[in-house]
């Protein structure tokens, strides 16, 4: 099984986990991206949303499970064929939620490029943007190294 281990800087990443956990709570009840199908009948719509939220919550729990005791002692997280798909989706969900909750004032162009002078941002915006970039890096790592595993699963 292909597996990649990533050593993270604990003092940098640990504070971001509070942001991720806070947003994870909201993702137990709300979709990260709004469902844009107005003409579904109500019962069908509700069933869809319920199923999507369940799937989304499971993905986010897999992401949170990365930051276990081993992470807090060694600073290491591991991605493999088993968790890559869930985690890459969970990162997308949290990043969308970050935009809704913290990053609207940053502007869409900045969100697309990821380029901003961190020194100009104040808390809690600064930490939220760091979290946004951190999760993008996780996604890029997974896509770069485990793309084939996700496509074959």
């Amino acid at each position: 099984m292909k597996r990649i281990e990533v050593k993270l800087a604990l003092p940098v990443v640990a504070p971001l986990l509070d942001v991720i956990r806070e947003l994870a709570d909201g993702l137990r009840k709300n979709l990260a991206a709004p469902l844009a199908l107005a003409d579904l009948d109500a019962e069908f719509h509700d069933a869809w949303v319920s199923e999507l939220i369940t799937s989304q919550s499971e993905d986010v729990q897999r992401l949170l499970a990365l930051f276990n005791d081993e992470f807090f002692t060694e600073g290491v997280v591991a991605f493999d064929e088993e968790n890559a798909e869930c985690i890459v989706r969970a990162c997308a969900a949290i990043r969308l939620r970050l935009r809704e909750h913290y990053l609207k004032k940053v502007g869409d162009e900045t969100l697309e490029t990821g380029e901003v002078d961190m020194a100009t941002l104040e808390e809690p915006l600064r930490r939220a943007f760091m979290c946004y970039l951190f999760l993008a890096t996780v996604q890029e790592l997974i896509i770069q190294h485990l793309d084939a595993s996700i496509l074959d699963s």
């Binding site: 991206a33 469902l35 844009a36 890459v88 997308a92 990043r95 969100l111 896509i143």
Partner: protein, 99 residues
């Protein structure tokens, strides 16, 4: 994907069946959050696109704000929208007026 639709009256049923007929388009809309590489991955995974096709559609979404990624029967189109939503892309259904 759930398929347990209920119809309460013949009138509702007729409207629903009419709505279900014809050709429908699955349209993916741009968002400023999802990475280009992620959107390419999702198109390959969900729609079975090869790398070049996935990149072409991703760029169309990025530059024009939307891309029609599939067209066909409503039920299958709904299934694609559901799965794209599961991957956190915003997708909508549109009737294909040409058919």
């Amino acid at each position: 994907m759930p398929d347990d639709r209920t119809h309460t009256s013949p009138e509702t049923q007729a409207v629903t069946e009419l709505r279900m007929e014809g050709v429908w388009r699955v349209v993916v809309l741009n968002d400023p959050v999802n990475l280009m590489s992620y959107v390419v991955l999702v198109f390959k995974k969900v729609l079975g696109f090869d790398e070049q096709t996935a990149r072409t559609h991703m760029l169309e979404v990025h530059e024009q704000g939307r891309s029609v990624v599939w067209s066909g029967l409503r039920e299958k189109a709904e299934a694609y929208v559901f799965t794209l939503q599961q991957w956190h892309l915003t997708a909508v259904l549109e009737p294909d007026e040409a058919h």
